[in-house]
Amino acid sequence: MDDETFLNERVDVVASFGTGLNPCAPVKFRRKNGRIIEISEIGLRHPTTQGNRMVHMFDVTDGGADYRLEFDAERLTWTLSLEADHS
């Protein structure tokens, strides 16, 4: 459990919007330090509500670490909230 870092970091995200069951898929994101993370798999996307506001949680990986991206559907912002390395 010490391998998890909780963050509240705004990130730039490239995402694709298509059709099907999971129409929105983040493809890669750039962190504040300029590092670009290429997403290799989206593990799970689940919506949560903060009051009336919908926030979609994307648990993703780049193959080296796991990340959680939060997409605020009202403010249209992406936030990196978790980085985990259980290697």
Binding site: G43, L44, H46, P47, T49, N52, G63, D66, H86
Partner: protein
């Protein structure tokens, strides 16, 4: 009462997610797949394991074990803190998939549900239930994720369907009919049967019943008069033979919350703050069902130095009010008063409301104005919290109780 086995076509499907919370985490974090994972409620080594993945179970990790002890058995064990919104999402996805097959879906808990096809449309009844079982598995893979597996059990009643779902974990699909009932029971232990553990097992052993087959062959009068000492004995006689006796809903009798304290020798004022927090959550539960309560019950587990190590005991107190109540403040006032006689050092506290009922608006009350004001205020706070997020407005007393986190809703699915 029917003495023969039910040879009708099986029409009940039981779906059970495998090691649900651990599997969901493995789904969410692909790098955890195939590795031993344990889900805990708190980020400490002393916390109890809520769910373990199959890889962890294979190494001897069991539910209820402390994470610290489990790591001795399985040094590579990865402990993760529970994430209830994620599990709730998967629950709703499973329910959505199941409801595509029948309107008669009953979710038994956060990770299992039952579809009763006996009341479905004829078109659906004509389909092979085994095909439907495989289809649900496939849809779970496609629509939630490729790591999501479930067990499917098919039988003539809910009990045997659940038993069938537990025969080949993980990812099994089994059918129990009147024809293979005895063969299946021959492979099981008495405690493999849902509902038979501890005291019931001892009682059955007391009349010479040690296996499911002996249980199946038992005389209904023995079960009713000696073992279960009630009509429950006859229900078991029918249940084991595949006849449906569990198709019923139970009204909500209590609502409550408990919490293992985040420190030893905590000052009473701090304990009361946490109790207040629990009362707020309990009040929200009661009101979410449109109910009011008449009674409050509090309990605590205490600990003390016995000279030969730490011992503990269970304490509880309850009281009934003259008039029904629903507000957090009313619950807390009673709980606080009851808690005055609680032991000094406690490690776990809990509060629950009982005698729940629909509010009776027809009878005028002597303190009507006061009650109306209380109700308006409580409704306003609930509406604000519903709109802007949980606990946006709460008592100032519970400003520092953020450590009392949302609990995984085991058992009841009322608050999902």
């Amino acid at each position: 009462m029917k003495n023969d086995y039910n040879h009708a076509r099986p029409m009940v499907i039981h779906i059970d997610l495998n090691s649900c919370f651990a599997t969901v985490e493995q789904q969410a974090r692909p790098r955890l797949r195939g590795r031993p994972v344990a889900i805990v409620n708190r980020r400490t080594d002393h916390t109890m394991i809520v769910t373990a993945s199959y890889e962890a179970k294979a190494m001897g990790v069991k539910l209820g074990m402390r994470l610290k002890d489990a790591k001795k058995l399985c040094p590579d064990l990865i402990g993760l803190e529970s994430d209830p919104p994620k599990y709730r999402y998967v629950y709703h996805q499973l329910m959505r998939i199941m409801q595509d097959y029948s309107a008669h879906v009953r979710m038994k808990s956060i990770d299992e549900g039952v579809i009763d096809f006996s009341e479905s449309t004829l078109a659906m009844q004509n389909r092979d239930l085994v095909d439907i079982g495989w289809e649900i598995k496939q849809r779970l893979w496609n629509e939630v994720g490729c790591a999501m597996n479930c067990n499917v059990g098919i039988a003539t009643n809910r009990f045997l369907a659940k038993t069938a779902a537990s025969l080949h974990k993980p990812n099994g699909l089994d059918v129990i009919t009147g024809d293979n009932l005895r063969d299946v029971f021959a492979t099981l232990e008495l405690t493999d049967l849902t509902g038979i553990a501890g005291q019931f097992e001892k009682r059955l052993n007391g009349v010479g019943i040690f296996t499911p087959l002996q249980f199946l062959d038992a005389d209904p009068v023995t079960l009713q008069k000696i073992v279960f000492k009630s009509i429950v004995g006859l229900e078991w006689h029918q249940r084991l033979r595949g006849w449906e006796v569990d198709k019923r809903d139970f009204p909500m009798r209590t609502a409550g919350r408990q919490y293992v304290l985040d420190g030893y020798k905590m000052p009473r004022a701090e304990v009361l703050k946490r109790l207040h927090h629990l009362c707020e959550e309990t009040g929200a539960k009661v009101r979410s069902q449109g109910l009011v309560a008449r009674g409050v019950s509090v309990h605590a587990r205490s600990y003390s130095d016995t000279g030969r190590g730490w011992g503990g005991s269970y304490w509880h107190a309850r009281s009934m009010a003259a008039v029904p109540f629903f507000s957090d403040q009313a619950i807390y006032e009673q709980a606080k008063r009851l808690f005055e006689s609680a032991p000094v050092f406690v490690k776990e506290i809990g509060v629950s409301c009982y005698e729940l009922s629909e509010p009776d608006e027809s009878q005028l009350h002597l303190f009507g104005d006061e009650l109306a004001r209380d109700k308006s205020l409580t409704n306003a706070v609930d509406q604000i919290n519903s709109r802007y997020g949980k606990r946006v407005v709460h008592s100032a007393d519970t400003l520092t109780t953020k450590m009392v986190k949302e609990k995984i809703p085991f058992g009841s699915t009322r608050y999902m």
